[in-house]
Amino acid sequence: MQTEAEAPATEPLSLENVTRRYGELTALAGIDLRLRQGEITAVVGPSGSGKSTLLELVAGLQEPDGGSVRVNGATRAAERREECAFMPQRDLLLPWRDALGNAALALECQGVPRAEARRCAAPLFERFGLAEFERARPAELSGGMRQRVAFLRTLLPGRPLLLLDEPFGALDAITRADLQEWLAGMLAAEPRTVLLVTHDVEEAVFLADRVLVLSPRPGRVLAELEVGLPRPRSVTDPDLALLRREALEVLRS
């Protein structure tokens, strides 16, 4: 049993006995979770297991009904928001802004003037495979490109904890596989602390260092799997398939 005083203030994320209820309905029942610096943690669970709720609690978009959430030492929701780069499931790009303007929005929200925000975002377009699409409107971009613009927007403010809510859920299978590899490469080149929420077990074991399996509502942690496979990984790796089966068995039990 670890007390609050023992937890170092710089720990990227710790949840202690977190409970969240919506009226009669209990979405999360006593979740404990700690993230290590630079580690990618995936949370998998069936629909309605409170995965998105968990992420929004961490992101400071909701407050728990019980327990505590601490992000880099910040406990208040407004402070947690400043520590988290939150990426929702859909790209939510603004149709009236071009790709560069959509990415720059993240900086404009911090009070950076528009022209300067665009200047700061522009150099990243090449690295995100979006060169020469700066001026394209979202309607002119493919689903995969839109999602990469959304990623760019998420990462631009440089917040330490990256929160991904089913980031590839809205994409077709081929684009999803492409983007998973692209994200794995990005995170290998530039390690970050990531909390990824998904219902796709394969995606979880492919991307994460550690996989937490959540039960159906009310969500609680059923199992914790260390992936411990070398990178770059291949989706066809038999060890990966083994882990996937293990996670699926826990989910189905």
Partner: protein
């Protein structure tokens, strides 16, 4: 194709109008034929034009007041929840008042000049603008608002960068309705008391049994409203190009 059908329909309408007006059983004082109307348009052109100009100014200024006031009111009601709850019933009530009754009172209050006309046009036109814009401001997806919150956006930033642009198509819907009813408002205003304007000219023509002139005035008033509507559509296309593209896709 769409325009060709519209034109065809219009030609059919004018022909039917001419046909009915030529019937012996139809009194010339009740219905002027298109030909008589055309003659009146040509004969009284300078008179009609001068008065149309007066009415147009009333319509445009009234619309401008309605737009500014309507947008300001919608934004204020959107930002301040208690204000919305309190003001909404009053907003609806303002439209339930019969303008015909109100117009003479406005003339008493603001005298004979352009004032009461502007007040009436604005009173009729601000309602569709405010109601549509309010709906638009509330139409923004909750997920998008959540994203803005996670990005640390202030209330005003969210309003400026997300809610207002997202509700532009709604604003234009309101403006389209406002543009079409604005002319009716100006005519009501002039009927309640005026010494110039197309509405007054039509009323006068009616009592002087100058039926072709009345119809000529009606044609101009209708054209005015249709042109205003078309202008709003044009501005909308320029201002919200993304909206059109998405509709096609």
């Amino acid at each position: 194709m769409r325009y060709a059908l519209s034109a065809l329909l219009l030609v059919g309408f004018v022909l039917a109008w001419q046909g009915v007006a030529s019937l012996d059983s139809v009194d010339d004082l009740t219905l002027a034929s298109p030909v008589e109307t055309w003659d009146a348009l040509r004969a009284d052109w300078s008179l009609l034009w001068d008065n149309a100009w007066v009415t147009l100014v009333e319509v445009l200024l009234g619309l401008a007041i309605a737009a500014v006031a309507g947008v300001a009111l919608a934004v204020a009601m959107h930002l301040v929840r208690p204000l919305r709850d309190a003001a909404y019933p009053l907003l609806v009530a303002s439209q339930a008042i019969p303008i015909v009754v109100l117009a003479p009172i406005f003339v008493l209050a603001f005298d004979y000049g352009i004032g009461p006309k502007l007040a009436i046009v604005a009173l009729i036109c601000f309602f569709p603008i405010t109601v549509n814009l309010l709906d638009g401001l509330r139409s923004v997806e909750p997920d998008l608002l959540k994203l803005m919150r996670s990005l640390g956006a202030s209330r005003l930033r969210t309003l400026r960068s997300v809610e207002l642009p997202a509700s532009l198509p709604f604003l234009f819907s309101g403006l389209k309705v406002a543009a079409t009813v604005s002319v009716i408002g100006a005519v009501f205003g002039e009927w309640a008391g005026a010494d110039e304007g197309l509405g007054r000219l039509v009323l006068l023509g009616n009592s002087q049994l100058q039926t072709p002139r009345v119809y000529a005035g009606l044609v101009i008033l209708t054209l005015m409203a249709v042109t205003l509507f078309a202008l709003v559509v044009l501005v909308e296309r320029i201002a919200c190009p993304w909206n059109r593209k998405e509709q096609i896709a």
